[in-house]
Symmetry: C2
Amino acid sequence: MRSNLATDQETVGAADAPELPSVRQRAVLDAVLGLMVEDGDQLTMDAVARRASCSKETLYKWFGDRDGLLTATVQWQASRVHAGRDAVQSLDGATLREHLQDFAVTWLTVITSESSVALNRIAVAHAGSRKSNLGGIVLANGRFAIGERVKPVLEAGRAAGLLAFADSEAAFRTFFGLVGRDIQIRLLLGEVLDLDGDEIRRDAGRAVEQFLALYGRAEP
Amino acid sequence: MRSNLATDQETVGAADAPELPSVRQRAVLDAVLGLMVEDGDQLTMDAVARRASCSKETLYKWFGDRDGLLTATVQWQASRVHAGRDAVQSLDGATLREHLQDFAVTWLTVITSESSVALNRIAVAHAGSRKSNLGGIVLANGRFAIGERVKPVLEAGRAAGLLAFADSEAAFRTFFGLVGRDIQIRLLLGEVLDLDGDEIRRDAGRAVEQFLALYGRAEP
DNA sequence: CGCGTACCGTACCGTACAGTACGCCGGGTA
DNA sequence: TACCCGGCGTACTGTACGGTACGGTACGCG
């Protein structure tokens, strides 16, 4: 069921069928991303077609309509973010810390990236008008995806006697708050923060320490 | 040239001059708010004029252009949020807790309100395109305004030996994160959360306890 | 070779919406 | 009474943009 029999690509990203885009289609989606980042409101179908050197008719054939194109773009961007799902075993305090640090760094890197900011802006704007659930998709691939990856780690930490909490969702949300703080909303509202790698690592470290201070147990 | 009495209202909310709107103008701005909340993208100048029973020409006369109207609306909404600035004196542990609880409840109430969500959506969407700094205004009246109100309390708490921190801005940002967590982004992206008063109070209480666990000092 | 298919480029259509022009009314002033 | 003038309603203009139609080109296949 893979691509490259260059025949009859159907509408991509249409709600249920996540049928991955062909190479050419991915190029189009990258063009969309590029336009979003450069100038959020210059995202017209004409501009996309020009940038991607394809015809509008092809865009409509592949993606149905403008919303379809945006949806496909969101999913394409999402698909290259959550790379690996890591199995958790044998946690000691150091590896727990390490895992959490990793998550925090990853998350901060994502939300401070230009493409994430641009994408979230589009999705937020879209959420205002009903129809076409871009916001839901972004949430599912961002906030909720990371939650589903972190919670098993937290639970493993609890199983190993390193953490104490009743509700892993609540614990995760606290972690989320400690990591993100006001960063995302400030970026979305147009403030320029540019954190470099060091700053992100420092921030992540602080968040992890605070989280462990709240939920950690003295290691046996 | 002009008799500057109750006549001759100039353009409102034009960048520098915060010249507060007249009663009639406030009614217009309320109409804008109403439209925003009801259906974010139905916010056309025609719709506003119809809703407020005024002519478009008047809108343009008063507010210059669409951005001016939006800006004035944001400022109008902001002006009725931060009601009182409370002088801080004689903090003991209980009143510190109480103050923080108050801030947290206020903030959660604001960010979960429909008008705030709608307004932030507009501002975020606007921040994508340059020109007209709606995002900055929202930040200044939201995130930063609350920060400026909380930090003196934190510093008073430190002066009273109840809190320990080096940087009040950093401490506040942690507080902010603990209070807001993922709520605002989820709402902006279209999730429906509707927290009632009880839930907000519980949430606020948890955040305050966590903050004090991180920054509190055993009271002498 | 002719035929179908996939796609590009461009011209085109309809509509929505920001912004403008103008006629009319009602109330304040003399 | 006459006359301003602020503001209402509505009709109008220009344009940007989503979506469609169509001609032209390259390529694979019988």
